[in-house]
Amino acid sequence: MTFVIKVESLSKNFGRVQAVKGVSFSVEKGEIFGIIGPNGAGKTTTLEMIEGILKPDSGSIDVLGLTPNRQLQQLNQQIGVQFQSASIQKKMKVKEALDLFAAFYPGEARKAQLVEMLGLEEKMNVRFENLSGGWKQRVTLALATLHQPEIVFLDEPSMGLDPHARRELWTLIRKLRDQGSTIVLTTHYMEEAEQLCDRVAMIYSGELRALDRPSALLEKSGGQLITFQSRDIPYVKLRSIPGVVKVDKEDDTFKVYSDDLQLTSYHIFTYCHQENLSLMHFQFAKGTLEDLFVHYLEKEEAE
């Protein structure tokens, strides 16, 4: 496996606030890597240290063999960045923006190819201020990838997009990967991480909480659950059954998260049998990253 990014014990403080605490991970060439976590978890700070914009307080970063904040100039030739809030001049036309950014990089920029891929042809003479959110996102994506960078960084790429535009964006991001770029993105939409990312790093209050393929994360504790309907079974009893991590109840429907499905099921069945309670629609289900995420947050708050 070839790593394009290797981060070790990365930390960053802003005054007294510890934004990032000892985070380590690496990103493989050609993958779509997601950094997920709630707002204010330290995702953007982590990303900006990797991009070389912020200087880490401690820890080491290796991006394509470079130390980002010391070799920014060389790094910027090989990476493309789409910022969360940064934009371009309001009165600049799409065509002009593409021309300008193409001039920043040596060699032939793949303007025509991107214009076609992103469907920008009809918007070439529109000023940036007159574009909708989805189109703005496409333009800044084009600007970040004109030079066919080794690594593309996307900070909350689908923020503020409607579901349709979001899905189109995912298709585009996959295309970019297929053309040879490694993608590193941050998101707080768990669905996005699940659908799009090959691997995710889950960050909460500046610490790395989990790092794996989304499907593997779901197989681990808290990601698995049993659902059933029952009118009589008491909530408190369920919480005390072995293996149970969390119980959600909505009307008659229960969602029981467990780190040992077999054990938990056995106890539920035994209990219901002894007490002569009825169980309906009993099934094993796969949780979503969102469930897993909430699970981590609740565990955090409980501690």
Binding site: E51, G52, I53, Q73, N76, Q77, I79, G80, V81, F83, S85, A86, S87, I88, Q89, K90, K91, M92, E96, D99, L100, F101, A103, F104, Y105, R127, T140, L143, F153
Partner: protein, 246 residues
């Protein structure tokens, strides 16, 4: 260098897309000169005509307008909206961005100066500067002093609005107190001294002087002050320049 040129060209184009800045930079001075001209166009005391005094001053005022609004406030808004940040992750070096904006500012200022010159010649029989080379040198020296000075002042602002407010304050102070519009001799003594701490005072002395009376090397003190402002603010502006608010 191609990038600097390209960016300067684009920024100039975008300047002309903004009607308000076109109005303040090009039309406002013409309207003001016309107003002052109709008030006391024919009864100026002393050796020089109305145009010979007022047009060099308003060209000087336009250096202030260009440096504070076309440069300072625009860069403050680029800082606020993340335009500068966006450049940070490209191979574009910071000095090229500043160079491009300096070129753009100079071009726009020269256009406005030319407009005032032509307007003065057509309406008020203005004569071209006696020491044209000196006037030109004075213009570039004033630009070299004012561009970094305005960048420094506006970079202290937190956002675009406060940058614009600071700029308006400086512009108005200098228009009325530096002798550009009202002759200093008409003012109380306190204000005459105040004028001398305003940088525009020296620009106007130098421009009026080289336009009507003597070559630039006879204005050693003014030249010295402007070079001082230029060096001082370039160093400080470079020191305090920020790419983003954070």
């Amino acid at each position: 260098m191609i990038v600097v040129w390209k960016l300067a060209q684009l920024e100039t184009k975008m300047f002309f897309r903004d009607r308000l800045s076109v109005f303040w930079t090009f039309l406002f001075p013409v309207v003001m000169i016309w107003l002052f001209g109709s008030m006391f166009g024919n009864n100026i005391e002393g050796n020089f005509s109305f145009a010979a005094l007022f047009i060099p001053s308003w060209i000087g005022v336009n250096i202030v307008t260009t440096s504070f609004f076309t440069l300072g406030t625009v860069l403050a808004s680029y800082r606020e909206t993340g335009v500068l940040r966006r450049y940070q992750s490209t191979p574009l070096q910071p000095w090229k961005i500043l160079a491009a904006h300096t070129v753009q500012g100079t071009v726009i200022f020269l256009c406005s100066a030319l407009l005032l010159l032509v307007f003065g010649m057509l309406m008020y029989d203005l004569e071209i500067p006696v020491y044209a080379g000196s006037t030109l040198a004075a213009l570039f020296l004033s630009i070299a002093a004012f561009f970094p000075f305005a960048l420094l002042i506006t970079s202290l602002a937190k956002n675009t609005q406060s940058a614009a407010a600071i700029s308006s304050l400086f512009l108005n102070l200098m228009i009325f107190l530096s002798g550009a519009t009202f002759p200093l001799e008409m003012m109380p003594e306190v204000l005459q001294y105040t004028a001398k701490i305003l940088p525009l005072y020296y620009v106007i002395e130098l421009l009026r002087g080289t336009w009507n009376e003597a070559p630039i090397f006879e204005y050693g003190f003014e030249v010295f002050v402007l070079i001082g402002i230029s060096v001082f603010s370039t160093i400080l502006a470079a020191r305090f320049f920020r790419w983003s608010d954070r």
